[in-house]
């Protein structure tokens, strides 16, 4: 595999059908891999039935497929047990699940520590919890490069801190969080750790046991799977003690007019009909990801990222956001160009078949900390190649002429 050609591109139906498209918005949604799409179609056309309810053979087949999807997700995360895998509608639902289920075990005066680098989906649920319960919400500041400023950690975490909920990787700057330092600080005070893996999963299988966290959330559409499905992993002993979030069918042990008792995890947290075919499709994507040489992919993505940053640095009045160019980062590069609005930039780029996102990227506290209102973001994935980066640099040259 080299940086000039992306042999994987042909494995993505949309990209294969649109060879002119330069898709550089994978931090928002990655393209779906053919295996995931095929798995969804196969499931819906041969095994479509509700799960954990029917005894006929079709329903049994659906049960088996759904259970296998859970096993695959557990392998992808190196979870201790398949019962620790909860299927949700996405990372946002996973994070809200923790904010309600774990959040309901907190009381006024308890502290939750998040960071200013969070996506709104790991920010607003904790503000809502603060309103519901009177917890104290604290914020880890960010450096000028958008990295979590862990120098401030000792004064922000104490025995009242019950949970530290942070991103694994910024969706704006690509900065990776020093998870080990967060976990070590949390353990010292007995706090739990929730890692928002929405941006992490696209860059390879995870090991939640090695990470040492207590919860891990991610979305299927960020890791080459279908939309509408996500995962929350939680430590088994912790999940066993938590109350449900949503209630309804499938999550109970028994219901009487007087009282209801809960099913064991993971069913306790999967009220209603789960996203069955989506989970099967996600599992296919994860299975495929587990066959890849990630060291090689990371090296290739890094080279593309460097090429892009070098080119961007040659554009006058362009300000790069994020870690220093030499620092390790996910292949996400955001920038602002003085006098040009990101929406206008992205609109002109679109006319050149370049798909990028401009705006606040659902991370307004981070952008405020970096001193920008909005920015343009290019996010590189394993199907991008050097021609995509060069086309973007050409497109920006055109945008500068068109918009000024």
């Amino acid at each position: 595999m080299n940086s000039k050609a992306a042999p994987l591109r042909d494995e993505f139906p949309l990209l294969a059908a649109a060879p002119e498209l330069r898709y550089l918005d994978s931090a928002a949604t990655a393209q779906i891999h053919r295996s995931a799409l095929d798995a969804v179609v196969r499931h819906e056309t041969t095994r479509r039935a509700n799960v954990l309810r029917g005894t006929y053979r079709l329903a049994e087949a659906a049960d088996i497929a759904y259970a296998q999807a859970r096993q695959t997700a557990a392998r992808f995360l190196n979870a201790g047990s398949t019962d620790e895998i909860i299927f949700t509608s996405g990372a946002t639902a996973s994070l809200n699940l923790v904010a309600h289920a774990f959040g309901n075990t907190l009381k006024a005066g308890d502290r939750v520590l998040i960071s200013l680098a969070e996506h709104h989906s790991n920010f607003v649920p904790w503000q809502m919890l603060r309103e519901r319960t009177g917890i104290e919400l604290n914020f880890i500041p960010v450096t000028s490069g958008g990295e979590l400023d862990l120098v401030a950690l000792p004064r922000l975490i104490d025995a009242r801190t019950r949970l530290v909920a942070v991103t694994q990787c910024s969706n704006v700057t690509g900065a990776w969080t020093d998870v080990a330092a967060i976990v070590a600080a949390a353990r010292e005070v007995g706090a739990r750790v929730l890692l928002d893996g929405a941006q992490g999963v696209q860059h390879g299988p995870q090991d939640v046991q090695a990470l040492g966290v207590d919860f891990y959330a991610f979305s299927g559409h960020k890791c080459f799977g279908p939309g509408g499905v996500g995962v929350l992993w939680g430590r088994g002993e912790l999940l066993a003690k938590l109350p449900p979030f949503l209630t309804g069918g499938g999550m109970i042990a028994s219901v009487t007019p007087q009282a209801t008792t809960w099913a064991l995890p993971p069913q306790r947290f999967e009220a209603g009909t789960p996203p069955i075919a989506q989970a099967v499709g996600l599992a296919a994507a994860l299975d495929w990801m587990m066959t890849l040489d990630w060291q090689q992919i990371h090296a290739r993505e890094s080279r593309l990222c460097e090429l892009l940053i070098e080119g961007l640095q040659r554009i006058p009045t362009l300000r790069l956001l994020g870690p220093a160019p030499s620092a390790a980062r996910a292949p996400i590069v955001s920038f602002e160009i003085s006098g040009l609005h990101p929406h206008d930039i992205c609109q002109v780029l679109d006319a050149h078949q370049l798909a990028l996102r401009g705006g606040h990227h659902c991370a307004q506290p981070l952008l405020a900390a970096l001193g920008v209102e909005a920015c343009t973001r290019a996010s590189i994935a394993l199907y991008n190649d050097e021609s995509d980066v060069l086309a973007l640099l050409d497109g920006l040259t055109f945008a500068l002429k068109e918009l000024r």
């Binding site: 609005h341 929406h343 002109v348 705006g359 606040h360 307004q364 952008l367 209102e373 909005a374 918009l403």
Partner: protein, 147 residues
């Protein structure tokens, strides 16, 4: 890019740069601040209304070319109109964006937003200043009614 179909016609760039009405009013009777949740763009619109009609207008617009151009058209044209007149123009603008409808009488500049019809995600950019203007006029009217 074909100028006739281009989203970024010279007229839009010129109106955005001209920023007609940019600034603040010392004696506003109504004010509104609206955000575009997609990108964080913000329009702060101030109006002075007498006998139901706009007598002065000012805005501070932080946004893309489309948003700034729309605010600039308002700065140039809104004085003299009452709330119903502004509502009718805003309705016509939505019609231009959604259906390619005709341009409102007296507001020929709005034709420059015609090419935005093909870009639904940008309609909010064009409409934000008009929504802010209507909100500012509603606030002015409410204050007037409350005395």
């Amino acid at each position: 890019m074909n100028e006739g179909n281009s989203l970024y016609q010279d007229a839009i760039k010129q109106f955005a740069r001209a920023a007609h009405g940019h600034g603040q009013l010392a004696a506003a009777t109504g004010e509104a601040k609206l955000d575009n949740p997609l990108c964080g763009d913000r329009v702060r619109m101030q109006v002075a209304v007498a006998s139901g009609c706009v007598t002065a207008i000012a805005h501070e617009t932080r946004g893309c070319l489309l948003c700034r151009a729309a605010a600039s058209v308002i700065g140039l044209q809104a004085v003299g109109h009452d709330a119903n007149g502004i509502k009718a123009v805003a309705h016509d603008l939505e019609s231009i964006l959604h259906e390619g409808g005709p341009v409102a009488p007296g507001w020929p500049e709005l034709s420059m937003f015609g090419p935005a019809r093909g870009y639904p995600s940008r309609h909010g950019c064009v409409l934000l200043p008009f929504r802010a203007l209507l909100a500012a006029m509603a606030e002015s009217e409410m204050k007037h009614v409350q005395g």
